[in-house]
């Protein structure tokens, strides 16, 4: 009876290891804090109405940022734990983590960073910025948007769920290669948590991909042909086309692994005909395009930033677009380079090696295009440009190591070594993460209404660069020394320990960089009035998102005027026309809880499948179906705002906008880090002296 009700759940599932307990307690405290604050400020209804059920891509975008930022810290703590373990575990010392726990940590680290940090930030940026860039008011399907976001959140909860119940995560590496991930070698629930957190968020990503493609292809402003779209929109389009192409492969593969584990099937087992190599092929057919899915929007961001801050049109627009397209296309044909060492033979290995080499061509074209854009420009080195310059150096390092790895005989010595780990961190941190930081510092004024503190931003940037070099250059060296990845301990005679210690120190410096980024945001909030963006266009932008207020009204644009050229906003500024806007009725989608409800049932079903609680799984699946059907019976999904109301709101907004604050004034500079520390100390002293909380 107990087995029927609870499946594999029993008291053993509660956390019983010190680190797990620490994690559980942290999450519970965090959750309680949020609940207490919301209840005390009576903000539950506000939260539900304004944010959780919102279908506004701007709000969904901000929610993506918040969750992704939280996961960045979570994944970063994993990274520090990894660095520390490896710095300590030389010779007879086996560090402070058991081998199994260490393996779970780096698995979680990889999954979190790729699925929940990078994808989260990218989806946030696409949600917020792309509609603004193409003069649309919303995505094609607001429902799919909110559903996709809540499935992502369900995945986030699932990947952390083992802290509360289960006490183990997959210990297989971030892609859970078979047969290690089968029940024979991983009998616990860890791999099941892995499967379902990725499956749910993967489906959310696929839905998002369909949505973004529909939006970009069908909802552009009149006159904006494909060849007039901004570069970030292009990068996003290519990325989303790849999403809908390869995420179904992930869905199918995870499904097959689930079938092996839940129903005792034999797709990837070592017996009865199973073929574990097939898993490797399938998972990497998804896995390689995935990293290009992450980096293409980043390339788009860099193209925008370089053009705007060079005050010059992007050089050779067509070449850049074709290059991005070329990268997407070839990314689909290189997956075997992740397992040259499996013994496929020289012909097969050569083919995939050559295909991998070919991707370097369009990537180089993009870099040359950026050089040509800067040539005879007039470059302002605000923080976004710094992130671009940092990206070039680090990404090139990653690219070169990638070309080395693409040569099969060289790969035989470098595969699965720390050289490989350094390579992909160089490309993902240098390309994707720096692209995200660049995009966020670039578009922050649009999103928040005030720009970010430049001085602390620069401090944070340099911390990242120094920390990165300190952490990853020794890693390349370790790879050359023959150090394998994922080792929880190693011989003292190898001489690796000093390098591991250097890596750990580098990691701490990166952590300082992250802390400074948080400080940067707080400092900007403190100096909000001075940093306010009153024009909606603080950088003298070239694309349409800068043609709205900062932040934009919920309907983005009062009127959808046609577009005639690339860099539409620059053209409008050049023409300088001030035509009286013709207001029309606007249809806006209503908020809906359908996304949350369906995602909640999906979470329940997945949780049930992890623990083999069959009846609960059926309830979950039934719930999804019922919610979906209920939604189709709902006719009232839009509401109309009459033209007269729009006109009123626009005129009111123009009246409310204060006179422009001096943005580049020399007398009142952005506060420095030292200024910030002084402010914090003064506040703390005030609190201690007066013994009462300052009201916000």
């Amino acid at each position: 009876m107990k087995e029927f009700l609870l499946g594999k759940l029993d008291l053993d599932a509660l956390p019983h290891d010190i680190f797990m307990i620490a994690g559980t307690v942290s999450f519970i405290l965090l959750g309680l804090t949020v609940i207490v604050v919301l209840t005390w400020t009576k903000r539950w209804t506000w939260l539900w109405k304004e944010w959780l059920t919102s279908v506004d891509p701007k709000k969904i975008g901000i929610m993506y940022f918040l969750v992704a930022a939280f996961m960045l810290v979570r994944g970063g703590i994993d990274a520090i734990m990894i660095w520390l373990q490896q710095a300590l575990s030389s010779g007879s010392s086996h560090g402070y983590l058991s081998a199994d726990h260490f393996q779970q940590i780096f698995t979680a680290h990889g999954n979190i960073m790729v699925f929940f940090v990078a994808m989260g930030f990218i989806f946030g940026l696409i949600n917020y910025i792309v509609p603004l860039q193409i003069r649309a008011r919303d995505l094609a399907s607001p429902l799919l948007n909110t559903l996709g976001f809540w499935l992502y959140v369900a995945g986030v909860i699932m990947v952390n769920m083992f802290f509360v119940l289960g006490s183990e995560y997959a210990a297989t590496g971030w892609l859970a290669i078979a047969p290690l991930s089968g029940t024979e070698f991983s009998p616990g629930v860890g791999v099941d948590y892995w499967i379902w957190s990725l499956q749910i968020s993967g489906i959310g990503t696929t839905l998002g991909g369909i949505n973004f493609i529909m939006t970009i292809l069908k909802m552009r402003a009149p006159g904006m042909t494909l060849w007039k779209m901004p570069m970030f929109t292009w990068g996003s389009l290519f990325s989303m086309i790849m999403v809908v192409t390869v995420f179904p492969l992930l869905t199918a593969t995870l499904f097959l692994l689930f079938l092996d584990r839940y129903f005792g099937m034999h797709f990837f087992t070592t017996d009865l005909g199973g073929n574990a190599m097939m898993y490797t092929n399938l998972i990497w057919m998804w896995g390689h395009p995935e990293v290009y899915i992450l980096v293409l929007p980043a390339f788009g961001i860099f193209s925008e930033v370089v053009a705007t801050f060079s005050r010059k049109k992007i050089a050779s627009y067509s070449s850049q677009v074709i290059a991005m397209g070329g990268v997407s296309l070839f990314a689909l044909s290189v997956w075997l380079h992740h397992f040259f060492t499996m013994g496929a033979g020289a012909d097969v290995n050569s083919f995939f090696g050559v295909m991998t080499m070919i991707i370097a061509i369009p990537t180089s074209v993009l870099v040359f295009g950026w050089i040509a854009t800067m040539y005879k420009g007039r470059i302002k080195f605000a923080t976004p440009m710094l992130w671009f310059l940092g990206f070039i150096g680090i990404f090139t390092l990653g690219g070169m190591s990638g070309v080395m790895l693409a040569i099969p005989p060289a790969d035989f010595q470098l595969h699965n070594s720390l050289f490989l780990v350094a390579h992909f961190h160089s490309t993902v941190i240098g390309g994707v993460l720096f692209g995200i930081f660049c995009g966020i510092s670039y578009w922050f004024p649009k999103i928040a209404g005030f720009r970010l503190n430049e001085r602390i931003g620069k401090n944070a940037f340099w911390c990242w660069i120094v920390g990165f070099c300190m952490s990853f250059i020794p890693m390349y060296v370790l790879g050359i020394m023959g150090a394998t990845r994922r080792l929880d301990h190693y011989d003292a005679s190898t001489g690796w320990q000093p390098l591991y210690i250097m890596m750990f120190i580098g990691g701490l410096i990166i952590a300082c960089g992250v802390a400074l980024q948080v400080v940067q945001i707080i400092a900007s909030v403190i100096q909000k009035r001075r940093l306010r963006d009153t024009t909606g266009d603080p950088w003298n932008g070239r694309t349409l998102e800068w043609a709205t207020a900062s932040p934009p009204p919920f309907y983005n644009f009062a009127t959808i005027e046609p577009v005639t050229t690339q860099d539409a906003l620059s053209e409008i500024k050049k023409q300088g026309t001030t035509v009286e806007p013709k207001y029309e009725d606007i249809h806006m989608p209503r908020n809906t809880g359908a996304g949350i409800y369906i995602a909640a049932f999906a979470f329940v079903a997945s949780f049930a499948l992890v623990w083999h609680i069959n009846w609960l799984a059926i309830v979950g699946i039934a719930g999804i179906i019922v919610c979906a059907i209920a939604r189709t019976f709902n006719d009232d999904v839009e509401y109309k705002i009459p033209a007269a109301t729009i006109k009123e709101m626009e005129e009111q907004r123009k009246k409310d906008t204060p006179a422009s604050a001096p943005v580049d004034s020399k007398e009142n500079e952005d506060m420095s880090l030292w200024d910030f520390i002084k402010i914090v100390l003064k506040w703390a002293l005030d609190v201690v002296r007066k013994r009462r909380l300052k009201t916000w």
Binding site: A140, S141, L144, T206, I210, N211, I213, M214, L217, K218, M219, V244, T245, F247, P248, L249, T251, A252, T253, L256, L259, D260, F263, G264, M265, H266, F267, T269, D271, L272, G273, G274, N275, M278, L282, E584, D585, H587, I625, I629, T632, F633
Partner: protein, 197 residues
């Protein structure tokens, strides 16, 4: 008058987008099936000494299933013609027929599965059977979803009558149904017919 016109073209534009988006979704579904087909191709001979498809499958039975599903596609097509003409009763009849045929197909498939399981050939027996049950079973799950969708749509039409947006949604349903039919043709060929080659 103008506002109504704008409202309708707004509605049309929305449906155009949804239609396009549905095609994209169908392509993702197709890719997922492609993986299952590829896996089947790799594993079909991994019977580990167990019976092959040739020994297990009964072609006349499967042929009947196939003809039933094909006919259901035909009846769905007639139903769509009626929908475009706005004839509610005919829509209910022909889609109702489609529903029954789909249900019969599903019943036959479940019967075939039950037979195999009864004889001791389950998805746990070997990789070949795992991939067979998964490929055909996933198709069956899709048919089930289609039937659920069809049932809901029929209730909708019965209670609220036909209107333009509903007809457009029916188009998507029939698209889904024809798609499943095409996938089945591939299954019939690759899984069943090719077992006898």
């Amino acid at each position: 008058m103008v506002n109504e016109h704008i409202a309708e073209s707004h509605e049309e534009a929305a449906m155009d987008r949804v239609g396009f988006g549905f095609w994209v979704y169908l392509m993702t579904d197709l890719l997922m099936f492609a993986v299952l087909f590829a896996v089947f191709a790799v594993l079909r001979d991994a019977t580990h000494g167990g019976p092959s498809g040739q020994e297990l499958f009964k072609l006349p039975f499967v042929l009947t299933e196939t003809l039933i599903l094909l006919t259901s596609s035909f009846t769905a097509g007639i139903g769509m013609l009626a929908a475009h003409r706005g004839i509610k009763s005919q829509v209910l009849t022909w889609f109702g027929l489609t529903f029954c045929l789909g249900l019969a197909f599903l019943g036959m498939e479940l019967y075939e599965f039950a037979e195999f399981i009864h004889e001791g050939h389950t998805w746990q027996s070997n990789a070949s059977l795992s991939s067979f049950f998964t490929l055909v079973g996933t198709h069956g799950l899709h048919i089930t979803s289609g039937l659920l969708w069809m049932g809901t749509a029929l209730v909708f039409i019965w209670k609220r009558g036909l209107n333009a947006p509903l007809v457009r949604k029916l188009t998507l349903l029939s698209l889904f149904w024809h798609f499943l039919d095409i996938v089945w043709i591939f299954i019939f060929t690759v899984v069943y017919l090719m077992a006898f080659v």
